[in-house]
């Protein structure tokens, strides 16, 4: 959408932007290969990936080919503080998990059990560790953790009982929207009404669609304000709904923001000879995003605003 809009305005210095889409097939190895393929095609920059484990597969190829890559959502600490062509729009897991810990502790939560998916382990384990550190620092405790494999034979139900058994005041679910919805279904099916907290990765409309009543009351952090009335955002949201019939999720917003940063940097690097795209990004930030100013520290790590929401009657409601 961002590219269509930009091209409609005449492109960058008269040059049209071409979008090449490659599927990482949810495999870090494939993703690394795709980077080399794109490099061979002469792309100037990559927007993506959305998942930390994929980013882990891509990073060596990114460093090798020096293709500037802007991930809208990747937040794993693994990528934080590295001087490479890999930029992250999102806050790090430490920042987010820290916010979760503080939020739950403030609501009186002290004992938390956690289930984490092993599909994107790089992210989930790191996230959980950061949460644990922050939560314990506040005086809380992670009383049980259980990994689960969405593709495994055991199903999700296997993790439910052990996590409930230690008498927690909340269950922390660290996985994507689909898995979070399904594991939430299993908690409710088991008859438990325990407070569910979902890591920000699951903060999509799918969570509600697939989770149904099971995800009612789930607390989750969103990196944007669903109810924002900032014109840039509302305009984007309306166009998005017109085109895709759904509301834009956090990854759509972050992707759009990433494209904004990239276009501004491309414009600068075309205008200024000898300025690499990476240097151009540092030169143009802060760039105005849909809801916030977009900027990076010297390692290319960004930060997003944080909004805690709760699912109520099939929709996210701000706390």
């Amino acid at each position: 959408m961002a590219i269509e809009e930009k091209n409609a305005q005449g492109g960058i210095h008269g040059r049209k932007i071409e979008l090449l889409i490659r599927d990482d097939e949810n495999s870090p190895e494939v993703a690394g290969k795709r980077v080399h393929e794109l490099a061979a095609l002469g792309v100037e920059a990559i927007i993506g990936p959305n998942v930390s484990s994929i980013a882990g597969g891509m990073l060596p190829a990114i460093v090798e080919t020096s293709i500037v890559t802007i991930s809208p959502t990747v937040s794993s600490l693994f990528f934080v503080g590295k001087d490479d062509p890999f930029f992250r729009m999102n806050s790090s897991t430490r920042q987010n998990a820290g916010a979760y810990a503080a939020n739950h502790y403030a609501k009186g939560g002290r004992r938390v059990s956690a289930a984490f998916g092993i599909q994107n382990r790089l992210f989930t384990e790191s996230w959980l560790k950061e949460f644990q550190t922050a939560f314990e620092a506040l005086g809380g405790a992670v009383v049980a953790t259980a990994p689960y494999d969405a593709k495994g034979a055991d199903g999700y139900a296997a993790v439910v009982a052990p996590l409930l058994a230690v008498n927690p005041d909340a269950i922390l679910l660290v996985s994507n929207g689909v898995d979070t919805a399904q594991i939430a279904q299993q908690f409710r099916k088991a008859g438990s009404n325990i407070k569910l907290i979902a890591a920000e990765w699951a903060a999509s409309e799918q969570l509600i669609e697939l989770g149904g009543k099971a995800v009612e009351g789930v607390t989750i952090l969103q990196t944007y304000d669903r109810d924002s009335v900032v014109p840039a955002y509302t305009q984007f949201r309306d166009t998005y709904i017109g085109q895709f019939t759904n509301r834009p999720g956090y990854s759509s917003i972050a992707s759009y923001d990433a494209a904004m940063v990239l276009f501004a940097a491309l414009e600068r690097s075309y205008a200024e000879k000898g300025l690499s795209l990476k240097e151009a990004i540092f030169a143009v930030v802060p760039v105005k995003g849909l809801q916030q100013d977009l900027t990076f520290d010297r390692f290319g790590d960004g930060a997003r605003k944080k909004f805690f929401v709760t699912v109520k009657n099939g929709t996210f409601v701000g706390e």
Binding site: D23, G155, V178, K189, G211, G212
Partner: protein, 646 residues
Amino acid sequence: MIFRRERRLRTSLIFLLASTTLVTLAIVGTGILVVRLPQIVTANQTLVDRAAEETASRIEVFLKGLEERVALVAQTAYDVPDARVGSMLDAARGDAFEALYLVNKVGTVVAISVGNVSAKRSREMVGIDLSNSKLVRAVAEKKNVVWSDKFLSAVTGIVTIGVAIPIERFGGVVIAELPLATLLKISHIARGAEGLEFWIIDGHGEVVADTGLPSASGFNLRNNPVVKAGLAQNPVAERMTFKSREYQSAASFSRALGWLFVSRIPAGLENRRIRETVGLILIAFIASPLIGLILAPFWARGMTEALAPVIQRARMIASGAPPGAWPRGNVVEFNQLTSDLEAMSKSLQQRQLELRDLNEGLEARVEQRTQDLAIANDELTETLSTLNRAQGELVHSEKMAALGRLVAGVAHELNTPIGIGRMAVSTMRDAVFQLEKRMKTGLRKSDLTNTIEHLLSGSDMAEKNMIRAADLISSFKQVAVDRTTSNRRRFQLLEIVDEIILTLTPIIKQKSIRVDREIPKDIILESYPGDLGQVLTNLIDNAIKHGFDKRDNGVIRISAAPLSKNVIRLTISDDGHGMTKGVIDKIFDPFFTTKRGCGGTGLGMHVTYNAVVSILGGAITVSSTPDEGSVFQIDLPLIGPNRNIA
């Protein structure tokens, strides 16, 4: 001039073959392209139109079949004992569906059959809440069969499509989920032509299946003009651009599914048939001249080999050798050429014989003519020597004539002193007679005194005139000697000029012509005074005869001045009629005269020229303007050249 480059026959033939093939191919190729390309485009359009329809109906039929299967489950699900529902679902799912499940009216899964998951996982799905599922909601709303758009399955967690059929009696829903790959497979079957690709697009514009780019499914094509028009059930454009490539496209909308089937085939050179047609023509265009180039030398060699003996015989004729038997080949024109050459050769031989005869006769005639010419030449040589002799004689007689004139002049000059002398002598004789008479009658003293007086004056006068005559003779004698002997001696130029003027006095006085001379006394030459005199006489004579012709007066000017240490310039000019250029050019030629028939011999000036150049060793030039006069300039060395007198 047009420069024509010579080429061998072989080269010409190769060029001919290659260019003919190329031109033919260019014309035929263009024709084929003009006719064939639109045909291909039309055929392609028909193909994509039909393909869209066919795929739509094929998939519709296929999905209808599946739908009926699910409908059967929906009708019977509540009639089957609970324990057997699971196995019934498993049987109904078969390989066709990824998941088949029953959802009750509050949105809870009550029975499920899922492929590719563990039994445990399958079991735990029973009881989950799907009240927010779009498909469940859509059925609840429509109370009719709903084919979903692409959606994320709540049970399998993958993107899928599904059909939901309401269970009327109990208000539940049977949902069957279909792997996207199934649609792709069916679409692939319908592909047929190379390059023909399909999109199956759901109501949101999401690509459900793409036979062209399997990894790119997930595209949203709502903004593609063809998709936009197709989803709105409007006629779609036959052309579209997708990812910078041109396609011919068609779309068919399935009302039952709410999906759009778009078929596309690359347009232009991207299209295989067009590319092949163009490629074939290009290959023919490149290959034909190449084949021509390979074959042409053989063909050309055949031609040149047929021509070679003919050329060889033509050469033999040219070099005069007998050509021998003439070859015959299988090319009509070559045989004609051979026949013509043979005839030509025979006629040449005939001519040659005739020429030889003619030549022999010619030699005899040339000899005869040579002899005649030799005789004529001898005669001419003799005539010429006679003429030379005659010319010499004429020159001599001219000189004699001049001498004659000189004598006449001398005689005329002598006449006066001698006449006066005679008269003085006769006066004296008369005085003596008177004295004798007186002596008879009585002589008086006065008579004697008178007689003495008379005698004294008479003798004085006689003596003076005799001396004068003697001087004249002596000077004329010198002139005559000079003229006849031609000896080199020292002389004063002024003296010679005066003598010549003197000798010419009779003719000068005849016309009261004035002769002015301006010659320094100190010019002394050691040369040939006779010849110089001759030159002066001729020039003055010429001036009087021609320059003052029919005129009674005029001025002749003679001047001299040193030109250098050893050379003087003598100038004789007149103010007479002058001469035309034609006359000046020929003036020194022998026998040239403007007074032929009036006594002119035409040798005077020739003699003058010879005398100046050959004897005096000088040079003479003439310039003249008609009606203004003529000027002769004679440059003379002070010392004349030696003459070897044989």
